[in-house]
């Protein structure tokens, strides 16, 4: 069913590459080759990945698949280690000779050369999707955290970077990274999600895997300084109501933020998962607004201007506003990411080897607080059952859920539905369309949090299915 889509993607990718190089912005050859390799291998997110990472579940079959991967793929492609790994010789018997000496990795650890999970990069090279289908627990590895850029990834020397806070303040200030690190800091585990995530899925099932439907959400432990601490340093003039946040990327990305958010849980973040934040996440410093659409947590933060009114920037008017096609009016300043969930196993393009026991698992999150419950259906929504939530259940973070299932080997549709501590539950696609109007060019359907369905055929193959057909 998806072969046409894949061919279409190939053509689009090629056309875009050609066009990009024509206007003087060729993508690095390495990334081009790498994306092409991903596009060429339909199995990459399917049975291979499943077998390699779920060896215990599938026993011998998994080992065979993993060996097949390493020995049968063509030389040049496999001569290089996957991203994030280094290639080392495989020992005939690792108990009969010394392993490699420490330090071969230069002092920064690498993953196994047999692990291949990577972000999926969209044809326009503007978004990288996290491989949710092979995720464990709730923390996204920094190298797999989703990305979305509007002007590429700037390479910033922190010694030359400063954050200026000015406007309706008593004392305009400039802070270096070293300054920020001296302040009292806090660390918080928060999810971040692009408001466009799953938008293209509103009218029909378009993307094949959990990575490509839901992969623009991730969770990290973020460390930084409360924005309120900095605003106490600068003081606020009467009438201060909004803050313009601005990045130092080629888009000089700007968003207007209500002052209440800045004074409550907003952070100026410089670390992620225990180390300096990655460049693609905004190194050396970013704004972080918990529970709000990712775009507004401005990366490569260089400026905060306190104002009495919003600025109506391009990114909060032309983009990231929600057109309601039934009225022609658009919701503006739609910040909150509402409750949402996705089953990550089993999910699109996997294949179950046969009837029997499976532990359904997935992720649930809400920008309004903690997840209160997740219900799972294995009959297309006719009946729902409580899943178990894995501790800790943190506010504005991803919660891992589990549900035991005996598959009888007949066709089934599995779904998850999250409810947060405010009592809000995920809607259906139909409910969202009734409320906000249909939108055929679906990627503009922001804040799309409908219940996701995975169809399991009698042969065990899993695909993205949609209640509207």
């Amino acid at each position: 069913m998806h072969s046409d889509d894949f061919e279409h993607d190939h053509q689009k990718t090629r056309a875009i590459d050609e066009a990009l190089s024509r206007i003087g912005k060729p993508i690095p050859e390495a990334q081009a080759r790498y994306v092409a390799a991903l596009e060429d291998c339909e199995c990459n997110e399917g049975m291979f990945a499943l077998a390699a990472t779920r060896r215990q579940l599938f026993g011998g079959a998994g080992v065979v698949a993993a060996v097949g991967m390493t020995t049968m793929l063509p030389g040049p492609a496999m001569a290089k280690a996957p991203p994030g790994a280094g290639e080392y010789p495989v020992q005939a018997d690792s108990t009969k000779e010394q392993g490699r000496m420490m330090g071969a990795d230069g002092g920064y650890g690498l993953r196994s050369q047999f692990e291949t999970d990577v972000r999926w990069v969209n044809p326009t090279k503007t978004a990288g999707f996290s491989p949710l289908q092979n995720s464990y627990g709730t923390i996204t590895p920094s190298g797999l955290h989703y990305e979305r850029h509007h002007g590429g990834i700037p390479n910033i020397d922190p010694a030359r970077h400063g954050l200026v806070i000015h406007g309706m303040v008593d004392r305009p200030m400039r802070y270096s990274l070293a300054d920020l690190r001296r302040f009292p800091t806090v660390s918080r585990t928060y999810f971040m999600e692009c408001s466009g995530t799953t938008g293209s899925e509103i009218m029909k099932a378009r993307e094949p895997t959990a990575q490509r439907t839901h992969g623009l959400v991730s969770t990290s432990e973020w460390t930084g300084v409360p924005f309120s601490t900095l605003l106490k340093q600068t003081g606020l003039k009467p009438g201060a109501a909004w803050v313009l946040a601005e990045g130092a990327d080629a888009a000089v990305m700007t968003r207007s933020v209500p002052i209440d958010k800045c004074l409550s849980d907003a952070l100026i973040v410089f670390a992620q998962n225990g180390e300096a934040m990655r460049p693609e996440q905004g190194y050396p410093m970013r704004l972080f607004l918990p529970g709000w659409e990712g775009n507004i947590s401005i990366k490569w933060l260089r400026r905060l201007e306190v104002s009495d009114k919003p600025f109506y920037t391009r990114e909060e008017t032309a983009k990231y506003s929600d057109l309601i096609t039934t009225t022609g009016k658009s919701r503006i300043f739609t910040f909150t990411m509402e409750a949402k969930s996705v089953i990550t196993f089993p999910s699109g393009e996997m294949k179950l080897p046969g009837a029997g026991f499976y532990e359904i698992t997935g992720l649930a999150w809400s920008g309004r607080g903690k997840i209160a419950r997740v219900e799972v259906s294995t009959d297309g929504g006719k009946s729902w059952h409580l899943a178990s939530l894995q501790d800790p259940v943190l506010a504005i973070s991803q919660t891992r859920f589990h549900f035991p299932w005996i598959w009888d080997g007949t066709a089934a549709v599995i779904q998850s539905r999250a409810t947060d501590e405010t009592g809000y539950s995920q809607p259906t696609h139909q409910q969202l369309i009734v409320e906000r109007g249909p939108l055929e060019s679906g990627s503009l359907f922001y804040h799309m949090n409908a219940v996701q369905s995975w169809g399991i055929a009698a042969d065990g193959s899993v695909k993205n299915v949609h209640p509207l057909g």
Binding site: I16, R174, E305, K309, F333
Partner: protein, 197 residues
């Protein structure tokens, strides 16, 4: 409160500990000072180097001016490769969300359809936003490279081609904020959470 030779956090903790000893009802958090000596006052130069945002009232717009005729020359030299000779975009170029990013004009009357065409002409509420965005992020190959006259001119070109302003109109710091965009009243507050039927 503490000397520079002491790590401020330890200094603060020390101060807190002393405070707790002296007044048991004081919480540890109160040991943190309200003001820290880090950072530097931002000079007017620091601020001027980065403060480029233009709000709908036009405050901060630079001196300069431009019209459709001058803007056509800027557009054809710096914009047309991506946005197209007729301002309708170029098929095959990066375009996310699909169909929306590169098309600059047209689309009026489509916002109530399932296939809305959202352009500067049909969708953007403020002309100042157009000026601000071009100044900060365009042209794609050399963002931030247009001077004030070029910015006013190319803004006038796009708005006139979209029949938002007359081709004879000269845009400057006074006239740009007064441009009435067709979708100016098309935006409403976020009503969520929704109550689904």
């Amino acid at each position: 409160m503490f000397t520079r030779s002491v790590d401020p956090k330890y200094g603060a903790l020390l101060a807190a500990a002393v405070a707790v000893l002296a007044m048991p009802s004081v919480a540890l958090a109160d040991g943190y000072p309200a003001q820290f000596e880090f950072g530097a006052p931002a000079s007017n130069q620091d601020i001027a180097a980065v403060a480029i945002a233009i709000a709908p009232d036009g405050k901060g717009l630079p001196a300069g001016k431009g019209d459709h005729a001058a803007g056509k020359r800027v557009y054809e030299a710096k914009c047309g490769d991506c946005h197209g000779a007729t301002l309708q975009g170029v098929p095959g170029l990066p375009d996310m969300p699909a169909g929306a990013a590169l098309r600059l004009i047209g689309g009026r009357g489509t916002l109530t359809t399932g296939n809305p065409v959202m352009t500067v002409e049909s969708y953007w509420p403020y002309a100042t936003t157009l000026f601000d965005y071009i100044r900060r992020a365009m042209p794609f190959q050399s963002p931030g490279s247009l001077n004030a006259d070029e910015l006013y001119a190319v803004s006038a070109y796009i708005l006139a081609e979209g029949n938002v302003i007359d081709k004879t109109m000269v845009l400057d710091a006074q006239t740009l904020p007064r441009v009435q965009m067709p979708n100016r009243d098309g935006f409403i507050a976020d009503p969520r959470p929704e109550f689904f039927r």
